[in-house]
C-alpha cells in the first residue's frame, strides 16, 4: 500500500510537471494520426502548414496550441480527413476529439494577451485625460497596423524608433500646453498707421475708389460681400487703439441716415465671416455730406484689424430662407427704374447675358442707353411687364446686386471714406489667448496652499502619475519624478520647468505607454483599465477608479453595474466607431470609388451609408436589442440618399431618420446594408469569393486560409457573356479547391443580388455605347443559389438571413469572438473560444441582448485574465 502511495504521489508529481510542459501523445491518438493524417500532415509534406508528426506536444511552444486547436477544429467539424480520403469511424473520431479537447482545455487556458502599448486613439484620449486638455496627434504620427482585424491587438502594436521619437516630441508639446515657456514681455510701442482710400482690401463691389474717396453702397452680412478693411494693418499686441475715420454721406436723401459700424476681425480669419457675429467696436451716424472725423478708442486682440461696414445700406445680397429677398430686390430695381426711366428702358432691352455682373453688366446697359432709340415715354415702371422683368432680374441675385451697387456709386445712397488712421497701442489689455493659457496652467497646478517646492511638486505629480500609470504609485516612483523636477529646478530653472521635465518623462514612461504588465488574474486596476479602454478607448474615470481602489471592482455585481454604466456613457461612441468601423470594414469606404457609370457619388452619399450602419448598431447597443437584430431587424436609418439607393420612398431630406421595414425581406440588417456591400466589393464589380470570405470571417465565424499563391485572380467578363458563376466553377470541379470553396462560395453568392454599391439587381448590367452616351442594359440573370455544407439551400439573402436567425449561435459566437478579440487585444486560444461558446449559449437563453452579451463577456474568465 505504502509503495503504491509513494508511486501514486510520484506519478502525480511527474504528471503535474508534464502537464506544465509536455504531454505524451496518447497511444490511440498516435495510431489515429498515423492512419488518417500523417500522409499529408507530416514534417515533409506539411500541407496547409500543419505538421502533426509528434510523439510529445510541447505546450511551451506557442505554435503548438495553435496547430492542435486547428486539428481539433477540423476533426470536430468533420472537415478532415478530406472527403476523398479514408474516413475514421464515428467512435474513433470522437475519442481523438475528446482527448485533444481535454488537453487543450488544460494547456491552452483563457488568456495570453501580450504587453500592449496604447493604440493611437487610446493614446490621444489618455494624454487628454492626464493633462485635462483636448489633444490630437499630429498628421505625421505613424498609424497602427491592424492585426486580426483590429488595430488594438497587442501583437500588432509594435513600438519602433520613429514612433518613440514622436512620443517624445508630443510629450514636449503636451507639456508646453499646460506649462508654457516664459512669455516675452510685451512692449508698448505706440505707432500710427495712416490708411488712405486705396489702402483697403476690396472684394467684388464692396467699395469703389472715386474722387479721392472710397465709396460703399452695400450692407450684406458676409464681410467679403460688403465690408472693407485696411490691407496693411493688424494689431501686434492686444491693446486699446484710437481709430479716427473721416466719413461723409453721398446723396442719401432726407429719409435715410447712414449708420457705419467698426468691427474687429482677425486678419487670418474667414473673409466671409458674418458682420453681425463680429465684435462691434463703434457705431457712427453719418448724415453730413461733408467729411467729419469720427473717433473711438477700441480694444483689439493680437492679429485683429478694423472692418468698416455700412450697416443700413438699403442694398444687400443677403437672402432669407422665406425668400422674401426676391420680391424686395425686385422692388428696389423697380424703384431704380422709377428714378431713371431711361435706365429701365435700356436695362429691359439689354436683358441678362451669361456672366453679366457688376461693372461689365452696367457698362453693357449704358452702351444700350447711349445708342439711343429707346421708348422712354412708354416705359411704365408700374406695369406688370416691368414688374415681371424685375423679378426675373432679381433671380440673378448676387450678380444683380453688384450691378446695382455700381449704379449706386454714382447716384447714392453711399458713404464715403476719406481717410482712416489707427494709433496704438495706447495701453495694453489682456491678451485673450494668454488669459486662456493662464487658466489652463492654473488648473493644472492647483493652489500652492503655502507648501514648499517639494511638497507642491508631490501634490501635483502624485495624482498625475496615478492617472498616467492607471494605478497608485509607490513612494519610490513618486520620489524619482519629484526628484528630477526639484533637481532640475536647483540647476537654475523655474519650478514650472522642473514639472515640465517630469511630465515629459511620465508621458514616455513604459508605465504610461503599456498596459497589462501583470500575469494571471487581472487586479482591480488592470481590470478597470481593460474595461475602460474596451468601451470608451480612454483611461478609467473617477467612478471606476474609486471601485478599483476599494477592491470592489472584481465583485461581479459591481463589475456588471460599471459595465452597464459605461455602455450608457457618451464616450461609448468611441467603442462603436472603432469596433464597428473595423469589424464591418467601414474604414475602407473612403477609398472605394464607385464606378461613375453606376452612380454619381459624393461625400454626402458616403456619409449617409456610413451613418446608417453606425446609427443602426448604436441603437442595438443602446436598446439592448437581441443580436438577431443585426441580421433581421424591423428598422433601419435612412435619409434621401441611401433611400434612393435602396429604391425606398423617403422624404427629400438629408437628415437621418429611423424607418420601419418589413423583417425577413431584402432590406434590413448588416447583410443588406450599402456600406457593407460597398466594403466587400471594389466599386466596380462584385466578387462572390470576396464576400464569401468576408461572411465567413465576420458573420459565420469560420475563417478560411489564404488561397494558394499560384491561383490567378478572376477577371470578370465585362461583355456579360459569361456569368461569374461559370468563371469560378473550377472551384467545385477541382477537389483541392473545393475543400475551402464549398464553404466560401455559397454565402458569397447569396449576396450577388447586391451590386457594388448595395443596390438590388436581378440581372447583371452590361454597358453599351449608344451614340456618345453609355447606356446600361440588363445582361445575364443573377443566380444567387448556393448550398451550404449542411445541405441548406440559400436562394438569396432572405434565406441567408433566415438561416442565421434559426442558427443564431453561429453569428453569436462570431460576434462574441470579435468583441473579445477587440476587448482583450489578443487572438483567441482554445480555452478562450470554449468559454465564448458557453457564454453565447447562456446569453441566448436569457434573451440574447447585445448589451447582455458584452456584460457576460466582461464577467467571464477570458476577459478577467491577462
Amino acid at each position: 500500500m505504502r509503495i503504491s502511495l509513494i508511486a501514486l504521489i510520484f506519478l502525480l508529481f511527474v504528471s503535474v510537471l508534464s502537464a506544465a510542459e509536455t504531454t505524451a501523445v496518447a497511444e490511440h491518438v498516435d495510431t489515429f494520426l498515423v492512419k488518417y493524417c500523417l500522409d499529408c500532415h507530416d514534417a515533409d509534406s506539411e500541407k496547409g502548414d500543419i505538421n502533426l508528426d509528434f510523439l510529445k506536444i510541447d505546450w511551451s511552444d506557442p505554435h503548438a496550441a495553435k496547430v492542435w486547436a486547428k486539428a481539433w477544429d477540423m476533426l470536430d467539424g468533420g472537415e478532415m480527413p478530406p472527403e476523398d480520403k479514408a474516413q475514421p469511424s464515428a467512435e474513433e473520431r470522437a475519442e481523438v476529439v475528446a482527448w485533444l479537447e481535454a488537453e487543450l482545455l488544460k494547456h491552452d487556458r483563457p488568456g495570453g494577451t501580450v504587453l500592449r502599448r496604447l493604440s493611437q486613439e487610446e493614446y490621444e484620449n489618455s494624454v487628454s485625460d492626464v493633462l485635462k486638455i483636448p489633444f490630437k496627434v499630429p498628421e505625421s504620427f505613424p498609424a497602427d497596423m491592424a492585426s486580426h482585424g483590429f488595430d488594438n491587438n497587442g501583437e500588432g502594436l509594435v513600438l519602433s524608433p520613429p514612433l518613440m521619437a514622436q512620443y517624445l516630441e508630443i510629450a514636449t508639446a503636451a507639456a508646453d500646453s499646460v506649462l508654457p515657456p516664459p512669455v516675452e514681455q510685451r512692449r508698448l510701442k505706440k505707432e500710427t498707421k495712416l490708411i488712405g482710400p486705396g489702402d483697403f482690401t476690396l472684394n467684388f463691389t464692396t467699395g469703389h475708389e472715386i474722387d479721392g474717396v472710397l465709396r460703399m453702397a452695400l450692407s450684406s452680412d458676409p464681410l467679403g460681400r460688403a465690408s472693407v478693411w485696411p490691407n496693411r494693418f493688424e494689431a501686434k499686441v492686444a491693446g486699446v487703439y484710437q481709430v479716427k475715420i473721416d466719413l461723409s454721406a453721398f446723396e442719401v436723401g432726407e429719409d435715410h441716415v447712414p449708420v457705419v459700424h467698426l468691427l474687429a476681425h482677425a486678419v487670418a480669419g474667414n473673409n466671409y465671416a458674418k458682420a453681425n457675429t463680429l465684435k462691434l467696436l463703434a457705431e457712427f451716424t453719418v448724415s453730413a455730406d461733408k467729411p467729419n472725423t469720427f473717433q473711438a478708442d477700441v480694444e483689439l486682440q493680437r492679429g485683429e484689424t478694423v472692418v468698416v461696414h455700412y450697416e443700413n445700406a438699403p442694398l444687400s445680397s443677403d437672402q432669407d430662407k422665406a425668400r422674401k429677398w426676391l420680391p424686395r430686390l425686385a422692388a428696389q430695381l423697380t424703384d431704380m427704374f422709377r428714378e431713371d426711366p431711361e435706365l429701365g428702358a435700356a436695362w429691359m432691352k439689354a436683358g441678362y447675358q451669361r456672366s453679366d455682373r457688376g461693372w461689365n453688366w452696367l457698362e453693357r446697359i449704358e452702351a444700350v442707353r447711349k445708342k439711343g432709340g429707346l421708348d422712354v415715354e412708354g416705359f411704365d415702371p408700374d406695369s406688370p411687364e416691368v414688374k415681371e422683368f424685375a423679378l426675373k432680374m432679381a433671380r440673378q441675385s448676387v450678380n444683380l446686386v453688384e450691378t446695382m451697387s455700381c449704379y449706386r456709386f454714382s447716384t447714392g445712397p453711399c458713404i464715403d471714406i476719406h481717410r482712416m488712421s489707427v494709433t496704438g497701442p495706447l495701453r495694453l489689455i489682456d491678451d485673450n489667448e494668454e488669459i486662456a493659457q493662464q487658466k489652463i496652467t492654473a488648473r493644472f497646478l492647483g493652489e500652492r496652499d503655502g507648501r514648499d517646492d517639494r511638497e507642491y511638486a508631490e501634490a501635483i505629480l502624485g495624482p498625475l502619475l496615478e492617472k498616467a500609470f492607471r494605478r497608485p504609485v509607490t513612494e519610490a516612483q513618486l520620489g524619482k519624478y519629484v526628484g528630477i523636477a526639484i533637481e532640475h529646478q536647483e540647476q537654475g530653472n523655474r519650478f514650472e520647468d522642473g514639472l515640465h521635465l517630469a511630465v515629459r518623462a511620465a508621458l514616455c514612461s513604459p508605465n504610461f505607454l503599456y498596459r497589462g504588465q501583470r500575469e494571471g488574474q487581472l487586479d482591480d486596476f488592470d481590470l478597470a483599465s481593460r474595461l475602460s479602454y474596451f468601451l470608451t478607448s480612454s483611461p478609467p474615470d473617477a467612478a471606476l477608479w474609486k471601485f478599483a481602489s476599494t477592491g470592489e471592482l472584481s465583485d461581479p455585481k459591481v463589475l456588471e453595474a460599471q459595465t452597464r454604466r459605461l455602455l450608457k456613457h457618451n464616450r461609448v461612441k468611441n467603442f462603436l466607431s472603432s469596433f464597428t468601423g473595423q469589424w464591418l470594414d467601414l474604414r475602407l469606404l473612403p477609398d472605394i470609388m464607385p464606378d461613375t457609370r453606376l452612380l454619381n457619388w459624393n461625400d454626402k452619399d458616403l456619409k449617409a451609408v456610413t451613418e446608417e450602419t453606425e446609427l443602426f448598431v448604436a441603437e442595438i447597443l443602446r436598446k439592448n436589442h437581441p443580436i438577431e437584430t443585426f441580421i433581421d431587424p424591423d428598422f433601419t436609418y435612412l435619409n434621401k440618399r441611401n433611400a434612393k439607393l435602396y429604391g425606398i420612398k423617403h422624404p427629400n431630406s438629408d437628415a437621418m431618420k429611423r424607418v420601419k421595414i418589413e423583417p425577413g425581406g431584402r432590406r434590413g440588417g448588416i447583410l443588406t446594408q450599402a456600406s457593407v456591400m460597398m466594403a466587400t466589393a471594389n466599386g466596380v464589380d462584385t466578387q462572390p469569393v470576396l464576400r464569401g470570405v468576408w461572411l465567413l470571417e465576420n458573420i459565420l465565424g469560420d475563417p478560411v486560409p489564404e488561397p494558394p499563391s499560384n491561383v490567378p485572380a478572376v477577371e470578370p467578363d465585362t461583355s456579360g457573356a459569361t456569368s461569374i458563376r461559370d468563371l469560378i466553377e473550377k472551384h467545385t470541379a477541382d477537389a483541392s479547391c473545393a475543400g475551402c470553396h464549398k464553404k466560401i462560395d455559397p454565402p458569397g453568392f447569396a449576396l450577388e443580388n447586391f451590386d457594388p454599391v448595395g443596390r438590388w439587381r436581378d440581372h447583371y448590367p452590361v454597358y453599351e455605347k449608344v451614340g456618345d452616351k453609355v447606356v446600361r442594359k440588363d445582361g445575364l440573370a443573377v443566380d444567387a443559389l448556393g448550398t451550404l455544407h449542411d445541405g441548406t439551400e440559400l436562394r438569396d439573402v432572405t434565406d441567408l438571413k433566415r438561416y442565421l436567425v434559426e442558427n443564431i449561435d453561429v453569428f453569436g459566437n462570431c460576434l462574441a469572438e470579435k468583441l473579445l478579440i477587440y476587448a482583450t487585444g489578443r487572438n483567441l486560444g482554445f480555452g478562450d473560444r470554449k468559454e465564448v461558446e458557453r457564454i453565447v449559449e447562456q446569453v441566448r437563453e436569457d434573451g440574447n441582448g447585445f448589451q447582455d452579451l458584452i456584460v457576460a463577456l466582461v464577467l467571464g474568465d477570458a476577459f478577467r485574465v491577462k
Partner: protein
C-alpha cells in the same frame, strides 16, 4: 509690391547651416539616396488659367510661347508643358483638389505619398503653403483623406523654418533635459523587465531599442543646432500681406521662403495653393474692373479675359522668379537645386468659366528631365494608351525612388516624355 522692394541687404541675417556638415538624421533608404530627383514642389492656382491663352498653340519644340507664359521665355529649356492631361475626375470648385488626389472624394495626395517615403530625411516631412487665407481650396491630403492645413502667413512660415536665437536656445534646452527624462524612463523599463513574463520581456525590448535610438537622435540634433551658420540676406516686410488683395505680394514672399526651405534642406516636399476669391487686385497701380473670381467667370468677354490673363501673368512671373532662384541656389554637390527638384505647376481646374476640370494646365520643370517641349496629348482619338495625369505623377515618383504602380486610375507612366 515687387520682390526687389524688400530684398535688401540688412543687418538681420538668416541662420542657415552649411549644407556640407548636415548629415541626414537617419540612414536614407537605398532607393531614395541614389534617386536622381530628391525634392518635389507642387504649385496649384485655385482659379486656374484661361487655357487658350496659357497653352502654346503649337506643340513640340520651338513653339511660340503663349501670352500668359511669356515671363518664362528665357527658361524655355527648363520646363515642359502638357496639354490634354487630367484625372478624368468630377468637375466643380469643390473637386479642385483632384489636382493632387486624382479623384473627387479625397484620398491621399501625390505629394503626401512622396512625403511619407522620403520625408524622414529632412526636418519637416513636408510643408503646405498658401498665400493669406486659402479660402475654399484644399490641396494636400493624408491617407485618411484629411486635408492638411496650409501656412498662409509669411511670418509664420519664416518662424517655422528659421528659429530665432531664443528659439534655438529653447530647443537646445529641451534636447538636453530630454536626456534626464529618457534616463528616468529607461530605469523604469529595466525595473519593469524584471517583473514581467519572458514573452512580455521580448516586447519590452522594442521599447529599449527605440529609446536608445532616440537618445542617439537627440545627440545628433544637438550637434546640428551647434553647427556654424552661413549668412544670407533676407528680410520679411514689417506686416504680413494676408489681406486678399495682397495675395500676389504674399505669393512672391512665399516663393522666396520655399526656395530657402529647399536650400536648407528643411524639407523636400512642398505644396503651395495659390488661392482665388473675390478680391479686386491692383496691378501696376491699376485697379482691375472686377474681383478675381468674377474675372474667372469671364463668359468669353474679351475684356474680362484680358484682365484674367493679367492676373495669370502675375502668377507666372512670380513662378518664373522661383525657378530662377532654384537655378541659382546650389546643393551640397554644387549642382543647381532645380536639377534635382521636380516642380509641378498647374491647377485642378481646367476651365474656371465652366467649372470644367478636364484638360488641366500642367507644367513640369526641373528634375533633370528632358524639357523644352509642349506635349499635346490627343483627346479626340482616345485609346486605352492615352496617358492620364496620374501617369505623369507615377513617372515623377519613380524618378524619386518612390515605387508606386498605381495612382488612382493611372497604371503606366510617361517616362517616354520626360526621360
Amino acid at each position: 509690391m515687387k520682390r526687389r522692394h524688400f530684398l535688401r541687404s540688412s543687418s538681420l541675417a538668416l541662420s542657415l547651416p552649411l549644407l556640407e556638415s548636415v548629415r541626414p538624421l537617419r540612414a536614407e533608404g537605398v532607393a531614395a539616396a541614389t534617386a536622381p530627383v530628391r525634392r518635389l514642389v507642387t504649385v496649384g492656382t485655385y482659379l486656374g488659367f484661361h487655357t487658350p491663352s496659357w497653352f502654346p498653340k503649337a506643340s513640340g519644340r520651338d513653339y511660340e510661347m503663349s501670352p500668359v507664359l511669356a515671363p518664362l521665355e528665357d527658361l524655355r529649356e527648363e520646363f515642359s508643358i502638357f496639354s490634354g492631361l487630367d484625372h478624368r475626375a468630377p468637375n466643380g470648385h469643390k473637386n479642385w483638389s483632384n489636382f493632387l488626389t486624382g479623384k473627387g472624394t479625397p484620398g491621399v495626395s501625390f505629394d503626401q505619398i512622396v512625403a511619407k517615403q522620403i520625408g524622414d530625411q529632412s526636418r519637416f516631412e513636408s510643408l503646405q503653403v498658401t498665400c493669406g487665407s486659402p479660402g475654399n481650396g484644399q490641396m494636400s491630403y493624408t491617407k485618411e483623406g484629411i486635408a492638411l492645413p496650409a501656412i498662409g502667413r509669411p511670418s509664420v512660415l519664416y518662424g517655422k523654418l528659421f528659429s530665432s536665437d531664443t528659439d534655438k536656445a529653447r530647443m537646445d534646452y529641451i534636447l538636453e533635459s530630454n536626456g534626464s527624462a529618457l534616463d528616468l524612463v529607461l530605469d523604469e523599463a529595466k525595473a519593469l523587465k524584471k517583473t514581467v513574463s519572458a514573452r512580455d520581456a521580448e516586447k519590452l525590448d522594442e521599447y529599449f531599442s527605440s529609446v536608445r535610438d532616440v537618445e542617439k537622435k537627440v545627440q545628433k540634433q544637438r550637434k546640428w543646432l551647434g553647427v556654424p551658420t552661413a549668412k544670407v540676406d533676407f528680410t520679411l516686410p514689417d506686416y504680413d500681406p494676408v489681406a486678399p488683395d495682397l495675395s500676389l505680394e504674399c505669393e512672391g514672399i512665399m516663393y522666396e521662403l520655399m526656395a530657402l526651405a529647399l536650400e536648407t534642406d528643411s524639407t523636400r516636399v512642398i505644396s503651395m495653393l495659390v488661392p482665388g476669391q473675390g478680391q479686386v487686385f491692383t496691378i501696376d497701380g491699376e485697379k482691375l474692373s472686377a474681383g478675381y473670381h468674377g474675372l474667372s467667370h469671364h463668359g468669353n468677354d474679351k475684356n474680362k479675359i484680358a484682365e484674367f490673363n493679367r492676373v495669370g501673368t502675375e502668377h507666372v512671373t512670380r513662378f518664373g522668379e522661383f525657378l530662377r532662384r532654384l537655378n541659382e541656389k546650389k546643393d551640397a554637390e554644387g549642382r543647381a537645386i532645380l536639377d534635382s527638384t521636380a516642380v509641378l505647376y498647374g491647377s485642378g481646374m481646367g476651365n474656371a468659366n465652366t467649372h470644367d476640370n478636364s484638360r488641366l494646365p500642367i507644367l513640369l520643370a526641373g528634375g533633370g528631365f528632358r524639357h523644352g517641349v509642349h506635349h499635346a496629348i490627343d483627346r479626340k482619338k482616345e485609346t486605352s494608351a492615352t496617358p492620364l495625369l496620374g501617369d505623369l505623377y507615377l513617372s515623377i515618383m519613380q524618378s524619386m525612388g518612390v515605387e508606386e504602380e498605381r495612382f488612382v486610375k493611372a497604371t503606366r507612366n510617361m517616362n517616354d516624355f520626360i526621360l
